[in-house]
Structure formats: C-alpha cells, structure tokens
C-alpha cells in the first residue's frame, strides 16, 4: 500500500485528508468523530471573539450531487467557550488545526494567541468566507492586508499559521504570495465561490442572506486552477480544497501542487465514512500508478508543461 503520510506546515499528518473548516467543527465530539473516521487532521469551525448565532435559515440550498450553496454566517460559540470543544476533541488524539476569523490584524492575533493556548497543532486564518460583512473575503481580498494580518499573527504565536485564501478575487495567487511574505507556513485554497440562488415562484433569493458560497464537485475545476497557479508562485506548501469527493479528485489536487487536502461537502453526500473510503481509494490509486509515496506526486503535472 502506498504511503499517504505527508508533512505540511510543520505537521506530520497520517494522511492528507483534513476535515475542512465549517463542517462538523462546532462540537468537540464531531471533531473527534471525523478523526476516528480516518481524517488526517481536523480543522475547527472558524472561531471569533464573541458568540455568533449566524444568519437565520434558510442557510443552505442543495443541488443534488453537484454542489451546495451556503451562507451560515460564521456561527460559533466564541473563543471564551470554545476551548471546551478542543478539550473533547484532543481526548481522541486528533491532530487539530484551529480556525479563527477577525475583522483586523489585532483581532486575528488575539484570537490566534487564545487558540494556541488550547493546544492546537496549527492555526488556519479564515481570510475567505464569502458572505460575512466585515470578515473573511472582506479583509482577505487585498494582498497588503493579508500580508499584514498573517505577519501580525505569525509574530504573536509559535505554532504554524496557514492562510485560507479566497477564490473571489482577481488574482488569488497574489493573495497566496502575500501570505507567504507575511510568514505563513502554508496556504489553503479555495474557500467557497460567491454564489446565489433565486426562487422564481417567490421572486426572491433562497438564502436569508441572499449571497452565499458554492461548494462541492461543481467548484473542483476552479479550485484546481487556483492551486495550480498558486503552486507556481509560492514555495510554501499548498493545501487543496474544493469539491474533492473521489480518490481521483484528491490526486488531481496533489498533482496540481497540493500537499494536503480538505474535505467538506462530500460528507453530506457520503457521510463521515468518506474519509476512510478516500484514504483506501487514494492508496490503491497510487499503487495502480506505481507511486509509492503520495509526496512524490505533489505538483508532478507541472513538469508535463503546457502545450
């Protein structure tokens, strides 16, 4: 069986399949459940300074097997109460990455420092939620601001910092470059694509917030293109996210340049068992292709060159 272990952002992961932020990460029991189901690591819900209820329902629109639209509105228990959930997750032995969101560099740094204190292995900065006023994409679309936020956080913690960047920008790779200049240990890409659904009978948007973010298989080619471009422009590792639901999807991202991967929407289609199935399937696929270690495949598609 091919070796799926990878090193990324200073973390030694048993496999590259991380639970994506925002999914299953509000409760420690769920984080532990994803780890027990075979995830290589788990990323928490994005945590802010104060408790946040998120937007009223409807918060999701489903599209069969090709995708999902959501505007949850960054619901989270807040950094004061969230350490209880980390404690529960830690008891399972999970490798935990703490995700935080702030409105400016100082808020990010305070949250990052508190999150580091809970004993997480690394941090992921949410610079990319597409539907929360004052957060996410709104603070993560400008390279100078991304660099400033990442640097401020990196200067205030000892653990590795991952920047999750948005695809809803003219040049996502420029944001990745900014994160690298700021001292990030890795970049994850992509977050959801800004999107909308309208009910024609009711003549109104479906989601209470109007705009939301699209995830699932529909966005995989977009995520691949972002990872491809980012890989060519930075030297820190890339974590690939967006529509991964089969072993082939996972390997595509790796060959585009991803060293680790995040899985989210596929859980809605297949249940949490998707982690075990992807790990087994990816290992078999590598065997079939004569690749002994996943890390050997990182970015190989770039060597083929473009015609």
């Amino acid at each position: 069986m091919a070796d799926l272990a990878v090193r990324v952002a200073g973390l030694a992961l048993r496999n590259p399949l991380l639970l994506a932020s925002g999914v299953w990460g509000e409760s420690g029991e769920s984080l532990a459940g994803a780890w027990k189901a075979g995830a290589g690591g788990v990323i928490t819900k994005s945590i802010g300074s104060v408790p946040r209820a998120g937007y009223p329902n409807p918060t999701v629109e489903t599209y069969g097997q090709w995708g999902m639209l959501n505007a949850m509105g960054l619901p989270n228990p807040g950094i004061e109460e969230y350490p209880r959930e980390i404690e529960v997750a830690k008891a399972s032995g999970a490798t935990i990455i703490g995700s935080v969101f702030g409105g400016d560099a100082d808020e990010f740094a305070r949250l990052a420092s508190r999150m580091e204190g809970t004993g997480v292995a690394a941090l992921e900065l949410n610079l990319s939620c597409p539907h929360a006023e004052g957060f996410g994409t709104e603070v993560g679309s400008d390279p100078a601001q991304v660099e400033r936020i990442v640097r401020t956080v990196v200067d205030s913690v000892r653990i590795p910092v991952i920047a999750k960047i948005t695809p809803n920008a003219a040049d996502p790779a420029a944001l990745a470059e900014a994160a690298e200049r700021g001292g990030a240990a890795a970049v994850s890409a992509i977050n959801t694509l800004r999107a909308l659904a309208i009910d024609v009978r009711l003549r109104r948007p479906v989601l209470s917030h109007g705009l939301g973010g699209l995830s699932g298989p529909a966005i995989k080619p977009v995520g691949l293109a972002c990872v491809w471009q980012i890989f060519e422009r930075i030297s820190i590792p890339v974590i690939g996210v967006g529509g991964i639901s089969t072993p082939e999807d996972a390997l595509e991202y790796v060959m585009a340049g991803a060293r680790a991967l995040e899985i989210g929407t596929a859980i809605a289609f297949e249940g949490i068992g998707v982690f075990g199935r992807l790990a087994t399937g990816l290992s078999s696929l590598l065997d079939e292709l004569g690749i002994h270690r996943l890390e050997e495949a990182v970015g190989v598609a770039h060597r083929a060159g473009a015609a």
Partner: protein, 258 residues
C-alpha cells in the same frame, strides 16, 4: 432541491398547535422531517404528522416567534419545502407502547397508524399540560389504540407527568417496543423504564437544525447528528451521552443546560 407549495388546510388542533396540510408527492417515512420555509422569515425542521398520500401535513407548536408565524399561515399561503430528511421508525414490532409528551404526538400518531395498519396492537400514554392540549387524542382512539392520559393539572386522566402512566402500562402488558417523543428529560425516563423491563425504546429527538444534511453541526448530540443519524434513535445510544436530556446547543453552538 426545494419546492414551493400552497397550504390547502389549516387546523387548530389544540390552543397551542396548528396543522398545515399541503400537496407534496415525495414519499415520507414515519419519523422523517421536512424543512419548512416561511419565505422572508425562517426555515424550521418539522416532523411530518400526515405522511400518507399526496397531501402531507406538519403540526406546529407555538414555541418561538418563527413557529408562531408558521401558525399564522392561512389556506392559500405559500411555504417552501425540502426533504424528507432523517431516518424512520421501524414498523415491525407487533405490540407497541407509544409514550407521547405534548407535541411529540405529531410524529408518533402517523407512525402508530402505520403500525396499526400492519396489524400491531398499539397502547398509548398521552401527556399534556391540560385537557385541551392533548394532541391527537381522538386520532389515537380512531386507529384502535388503547389510550391512557395524564395532564399536569389533572383536567383529564391522571394528574402529573405521563411517565408514571407509561410505567403502569409497561408493567401490565407485554410490548415488543416503546416509541417516545417529547422533552428529552421525559424520554430519558422512558428509556430507563424500557431498560428495566427489557423492552427496546426508540426516541424521536428534536434539536435546532440548520443545514439538515449532516454538515453544519448545529444539531450535534454527542457523536451523532440528529438530522442524518436520527431523528429516531435506539435509546441505548443516547442515555450514556453527557448531553442527552442535559444540554442542548444554541444557534451559536454553545452548550446550554435544558
């Protein structure tokens, strides 16, 4: 996928509960729920109280502002629907004890009807605050169930909680399964009663829901998600959990005592 329908009938079942009927063709199993969208307002998970045929129904209890606004819908009003979601009651037991607290009867009545149609004997312990709030009392009687009642104020049946009535019924008869829906504290007592008598108990659990497809974690209960692992759980899977009957989670995901 979402469907928009016009409500055809509104029935005031009790002072605090209203049934909405609407055309919806997809099959719905006993125990399953729909996400009911009140356009421009909110979307709420509701167990289906009329599961058979093309006219489905939900029975809504006035809890918060949103459920009150759902109750205020009139025939001809539009609602959005998605689902059904969740698992269902297993209809194989031949001798059933049904323990319903308050609006818990909304999900138990259609399930009990289906069990009756397959020839099961059904005994019901039905509880409410007061006589007028006994939900589906006549419906349970019409299906040929034996019904015993408890009300908090003693206005009908025994005064007090429904669990002592359930306990007496369980002791007097032989049952293959106990189905229960109501406050978690009540269901926990029913679970203990089943464990004592060696009768499997199945609880229909209600929790705050957002996505309903097992992603967002809003309905997390221990290692489970009520939307995809439930809402029907064998009681033994719940009773050992630190949160069952003790803590729920609010919209921000904070654990709060019941």
């Amino acid at each position: 996928m979402r469907t928009v329908v016009r409500v055809t009938d509104c029935v005031q079942e009790t002072p605090s509960t209203v049934t909405l009927r609407f055309p919806y063709a997809p099959p719905v199993g006993p125990g399953q729920f729909l996400m009911i969208w009140l356009p421009g307002d909110d979307e709420l998970p509701m167990s289906v109280s009329y599961t058979e045929g093309g006219s489905k129904g939900v029975t809504v209890k006035a809890m918060g502002d949103s459920s009150r606004r759902v109750q205020s819908i009139r025939p001809g009003g539009t609602i959005g629907l998605r689902g059904p979601y969740g698992n269902r009651f297993d209809l194989s037991p031949r001798a059933l004890l049904v323990v319903a607290g308050g609006s818990g009867a909304a999900v138990l009545a259609p399930a009990a009807e289906l069990a009756r149609a397959r020839g099961a004997s059904v005994t019901v312990a039905l509880g409410a605050t007061t006589r007028a709030e006994l939900l589906f009392h006549d419906r349970f009687r019409r299906m040929g169930a034996r019904v015993e009642v408890a009300t908090d104020d003693g206005s009908e049946g025994e005064r007090g909680f429904v669990t002592p009535v359930a306990s007496r019924l369980a002791a007097a008869g032989r049952f293959d399964a106990i189905w229960t829906c109501g406050p978690e504290v009540m269901m926990q007592k029913v679970a203990a009663l089943g464990a004592e008598r060696g009768v499997p108990v199945f609880c229909a659990v209600e929790r705050l829901m957002k996505c309903a497809v097992g992603l967002c974690d809003a309905c997390a209960l221990g290692p489970f998600h009520v939307c995809t692992d439930g809402p029907v759980f064998e009681a033994g899977r719940l009773t050992g959990l630190p949160d069952f009957a003790r803590f729920h989670r609010d919209s921000a995901g904070r654990r709060r005592p019941f």
